[in-house]
C-alpha cells in the first residue's frame, strides 16, 4: 500500500485481496450505519437540520473574511494568540517556534486531521520533539506506524485481536483481546505522557467568531486533558472551521455526532475561550490558534467547488460509500479518504496527483444523500472528471472515442447506419456467439449480444399492432 494518491489503482488490488480487511471493514461500516439510521429515524427535523447547516456554511463561505477577522479579534481579546499560516510549511514552523520557546520535548496530541494534512508528527520527530497521539484509535495507528485509516475512526480496520497483537509487540504487555483491558493499558501509558508533556496539540471542529471560542468534540476525554494538562495548548485548524455564533453550534453538534459515531451527543464538548485566568486552578498558561489556509482560499474562489469547504469531517460519506467499504482508507493515499477525500485530494494536492480518485465512483450518490451539510459530493466528482480531461493531456484517445461517438449519436441516420453495420459484422464474423468479448468487461462478466432487431426497427410493426389493441374507451384515452 503506497501513501500516494497516484498509486490508488494499485492499492485497491491489495485491499480487495485482503480478506481480513474486507471482513473487518464491512462489519465496522455496517454497525455505524445501522445505528446512525436508527437515530435519524427518530429525528423528525433531520432534513431541516441539514438545510440549516448547509445555509450557515454557505453564508460563512460568502463572508469568510469578515468572520475570520471577527474570530481573530475575539480570540485576541480573550488572551489567545492567533497565528496565520498560508501553507504547510508556515503551519509547521509556527508550531515549532512555540514549542522551541517553551522547551518542549513531548507534545500530546488529540485527533487532528489538519495536523495530518501538514505532516506535523514526522516534522516534529525530526526535530527531536516527541508527538504522542492520545485518541485511542490514533494511538493504535501511531504504535503500528500507520497513518489514520479513516478521518473519524483511525483504526477502523483493526479487530480487537489486531490491537492486542500491536500492544503486545510495541508496548511489551501480555497479549489480551479484551477491549476493557486494552483500553486500560492505553490509559496507563497515556497518563504518563499527559503528565510529562509540555505542550498539547489539537485540531478543532468549530471556531465561534462571535465569542472567540474553539470547539473540540470528542468521546474519550483525551482532548480535555490535552488542552488542560500541559502548560501550552496549540490548536491547528483550517480557516473554513469558523461559524458565526454559539447558536449555530447547536445545529452542528447534533449533525456531527450522529453522522460520525451514531451518538445523539458526543461525550465531551470542549469550549475553549482563553488560557488560565487569574484565580483559576487549571488550564494552560498559553493558548495558541494556528489558522491554516493551505489551498482553502483557492477553493473559496471556485464557485463550482466551494461547497467542498462545508465539510465537517464526520466521515459518514466514507462509511456509506461502496468504494470505501472495499478499498479502505489507506488506498486513497492521503489524509482525506472516501468520497470527500476524492474531492479534496485533487483540490488540495492538484489534479495531477489526485486524478484517479474522481473516477473511483459509480456516482451512486449515497455520499450526497448522507452528508449532514448537504454537499453534493458526487456532482463535485463529475465536475472534477471534466476538469481532469481538460487539464491533463494524456486522455486524448478516450476523448477522440467520445468525439466520434458524439458525432454519430447526434446524426440519427448515421447512428442507424452504424447500428446495421455492427449487426452485419456480428452476423458475418460471430454468427453463433451468445456473448461478445469486450475488453476488460468480459474478464468478470458476460456481455450480451445485441438483439437481432432494435426497438427502432420493430416499432413500425408494433405500432400497427398496438393501434388495434388500444381500448376504445379506456380511462386514459381522453386528455386528462
Amino acid at each position: 500500500m503506497k501513501a500516494d494518491p497516484r498509486y490508488f489503482k494499485m492499492n485497491i488490488r491489495e485491499s480487495l485481496a485482503d480478506e481480513h480487511l474486507q471482513t473487518v471493514l464491512r462489519k465496522a461500516c455496517d454497525e455505524v450505519l445501522v445505528k446512525r439510521a436508527q437515530i435519524v429515524a427518530e429525528m423528525p427535523h433531520w432534513q431541516q437540520l441539514r438545510d440549516a447547516a448547509s445555509r450557515i456554511k454557505a453564508h460563512v463561505m460568502a463572508n469568510l473574511d469578515t468572520y475570520l477577522l471577527q474570530l481573530e479579534r475575539n480570540l485576541t481579546a480573550n488572551g489567545v494568540k492567533v497565528h496565520w499560516a498560508r501553507d504547510t510549511e508556515e503551519a509547521r514552523n509556527e508550531i515549532l517556534e512555540i514549542a522551541r520557546k517553551h522547551n518542549v520535548w513531548t507534545a500530546v496530541k488529540s485527533k487532528s486531521m489538519t495536523s495530518e494534512e501538514v505532516g506535523l508528527n514526522a516534522f516534529l520527530e525530526e526535530r527531536k520533539i516527541r508527538p504522542v497521539e492520545t485518541d485511542l484509535g490514533e494511538y493504535i495507528q501511531q504504535l503500528s506506524g500507520e497513518p489514520p485509516f479513516h478521518i473519524v475512526t483511525p483504526a477502523m480496520h483493526r479487530s480487537r485481536q489486531d490491537v492486542g497483537r500491536i500492544f503486545a509487540e510495541k508496548l511489551g504487555v501480555p497479549y489480551t483481546e479484551d477491549p476493557e483491558s486494552l483500553t486500560r493499558i492505553a490509559r496507563e501509558k497515556l497518563r504518563d505522557a499527559f503528565l510529562t508533556a509540555e505542550m498539547g496539540i489539537t485540531g478543532a471542529n468549530f471556531a465561534v467568531a462571535e465569542t472567540g471560542t474553539i470547539v473540540i468534540v470528542e468521546n474519550e476525554g483525551n482532548a480535555r486533558l490535552t488542552t488542560t494538562a500541559p502548560k501550552v495548548h496549540v490548536a491547528l485548524l483550517g480557516i473554513e472551521k469558523v461559524i458565526p455564533t454559539l447558536q449555530d453550534l447547536r445545529v452542528f453538534l447534533n449533525l456531527l455526532s450522529i453522522s460520525s459515531t451514531a451518538q445523539r451527543l458526543p461525550c465531551y464538548v470542549n469550549l475553549i475561550r482563553s488560557p488560565r485566568r487569574e484565580g483559576e486552578h487549571e488550564g494552560p498558561e498559553e493558548v495558541h490558534v494556528v489558522l491554516l489556509d493551505n489551498g482553502r482560499t483557492e477553493i473559496l474562489d471556485d464557485d463550482e467547488m466551494v461547497s467542498a469547504l462545508h465539510c465537517i469531517r464526520c466521515g459518514a460519506c466514507l462509511n456509506v460509500c461502496p468504494i470505501f467499504q472495499r478499498v479502505g482508507g489507506h488506498a486513497y493515499g492521503w489524509v482525506y479518504q472516501g468520497p470527500i477525500g476524492s474531492v479534496l485530494t485533487p483540490l488540495y494536492r492538484g489534479l495531477n496527483v489526485g486524478y484517479q480518485l474522481p473516477f473511483a465512483s459509480s456516482l451512486c450518490g449515497a455520499c450526497s444523500e448522507i452528508c449532514p451539510v448537504k454537499i453534493d459530493i458526487h456532482h463535485l466528482l463529475l465536475v472534477l472528471r471534466n476538469r481532469i480531461h481538460h487539464n491533463l493531456s494524456d486522455w486524448w484517445l478516450e476523448r477522440t472515442a467520445f468525439r466520434l461517438w458524439a458525432f454519430g449519436s447526434s446524426r440519427p441516420r448515421f447512428y442507424r447506419f452504424a447500428e446495421r453495420l455492427l449487426r452485419l459484422f456480428l452476423r458475418l464474423f460471430v454468427p453463433h456467439a451468445k456473448e461478445l468479448p469486450v475488453p476488460v468487461w468480459s474478464k468478470t462478466r458476460a456481455f450480451p449480444r445485441p438483439a437481432r432487431r432494435s426497438f427502432h426497427r420493430r416499432w413500425r410493426r408494433l405500432a400497427k399492432e398496438l393501434e388495434n389493441e388500444r381500448p376504445r374507451t379506456g380511462e386514459h384515452s381522453g386528455d386528462l
Binding site: 461502496p322 459509480s362 451512486c364 450518490g365 471534466n386 458524439a406 456473448e435
Partner: protein, 248 residues
C-alpha cells in the same frame, strides 16, 4: 392522453423487449403513443465520464427531438435523471437553462409515471416467482423514486416479494466506472447478487437495463441460479431471450 416514448440506447439495442413491453402496457392502459424515430442517446455515457462538451452535442440533438413532446416516458431511472437533472450542468447552443429545465420537467421514468403521476399501481400483470428488488441509484437518489416500483410489484398476481439486505446499495455498474475500475465494479455486483441469493430470490428486479446487464453478466459468468430482470419484463411478461445467438 398522448405519451412520447423515450427508448434509451441500451434498451433499443440490447433489450428491445423492454421498450415493447412498456409500449404494450401503456397502450393497454389507454395511452396514445408516439415514438420519435430520430432519437438516439441522451448523452449520459460521455457526461458521466466527464466529457461535458461531447455530451452536450448529443443532448442538443436529444432536445431537438423531444422539445415538442407533451409528456415523455422512458424505462430508465438513469437516462431520465440525465435529461431532468444533469442537463442543467451542460451548455447548450439553442436552449436556455429555463427551456432545458422546462423540457426536462416533462420526462418521467416508467414506474414514476404510472404510480406517482397517474396513480396506477395495478397493470393487471401476472408473474410466477420469488422476486427481490434492487433500487437503482439514479432512480432512487436523483429522481427520488423509492416506493413506486414496489407498489407496482405488490400488485402483480402470483409474485412473491422478498426484500433483500442493502437493496439501496449500488450494483457497481456506474457507466465507464465498470471498465475503469472493473474489480471494484464486479465486487459490488457480486455483493448485490449474493444478497438476492441469500433471500432465495429467483429474480432480482430493477428499473434500469444497465444495472441489469451488469448483474446478469456476473450471474451468467458464475452460473448462478438467479435472473436479473427489468421491472417491465415482470409487468409485461415479455422476457429477455436467454440465448441471444438465435435472435429474438
Amino acid at each position: 392522453m398522448k405519451v412520447w416514448l423515450f427508448i434509451p440506447c441500451l434498451v433499443d439495442q440490447f433489450y428491445p423487449e423492454v421498450g415493447e413491453g412498456m409500449a404494450r402496457i401503456l397502450t393497454r392502459l389507454g395511452f396514445e403513443l408516439e415514438y420519435p424515430a430520430a432519437q438516439t442517446c441522451c448523452g449520459q455515457p460521455a457526461f458521466n465520464s466527464g466529457y461535458f462538451d461531447e455530451a452536450a452535442v448529443v443532448a442538443e440533438h436529444f432536445l431537438d427531438v423531444f422539445r415538442d413532446a407533451p409528456l415523455v416516458v422512458g424505462p430508465s431511472g438513469s437516462c431520465i435523471s440525465m435529461v431532468r437533472i444533469f442537463y442543467r450542468q451542460l451548455k447548450f447552443k439553442k436552449y436556455t437553462p429555463q427551456e432545458v429545465a422546462e423540457i426536462g420537467g416533462r420526462f418521467y421514468e416508467f414506474s414514476e409515471f404510472l404510480v406517482k403521476k397517474m396513480g396506477i399501481t395495478d397493470v393487471g400483470a401476472h408473474f410466477e416467482g420469488r422476486v427481490t428488488y434492487h433500487a437503482a441509484c439514479h432512480l432512487l437518489r436523483e429522481l427520488g423514486v423509492r416506493n413506486e416500483p414496489l407498489e407496482l410489484l405488490k400488485h402483480v398476481r402470483g409474485l412473491e416479494f422478498v426484500p433483500m439486505k442493502d437493496a439501496e446499495a449500488c450494483c457497481g455498474f456506474g457507466g465507464t466506472f465498470s471498465v475503469k475500475y472493473p474489480l471494484l465494479s464486479t465486487s459490488m455486483g457480486e455483493y448485490k447478487v449474493r444478497q438476492a441469493l441469500a433471500v432465495n430470490a429467483d429474480y432480482v428486479v430493477m428499473n434500469d437495463v444497465s444495472c441489469m446487464m451488469h448483474l446478469q453478466g456476473i450471474i451468467d459468468r458464475q452460473n448462478l441460479p438467479l435472473r436479473a430482470l427489468h421491472i417491465v419484463h415482470v409487468l409485461s411478461g415479455l422476457m429477455p431471450p436467454s440465448a441471444r445467438g438465435s435472435g429474438s
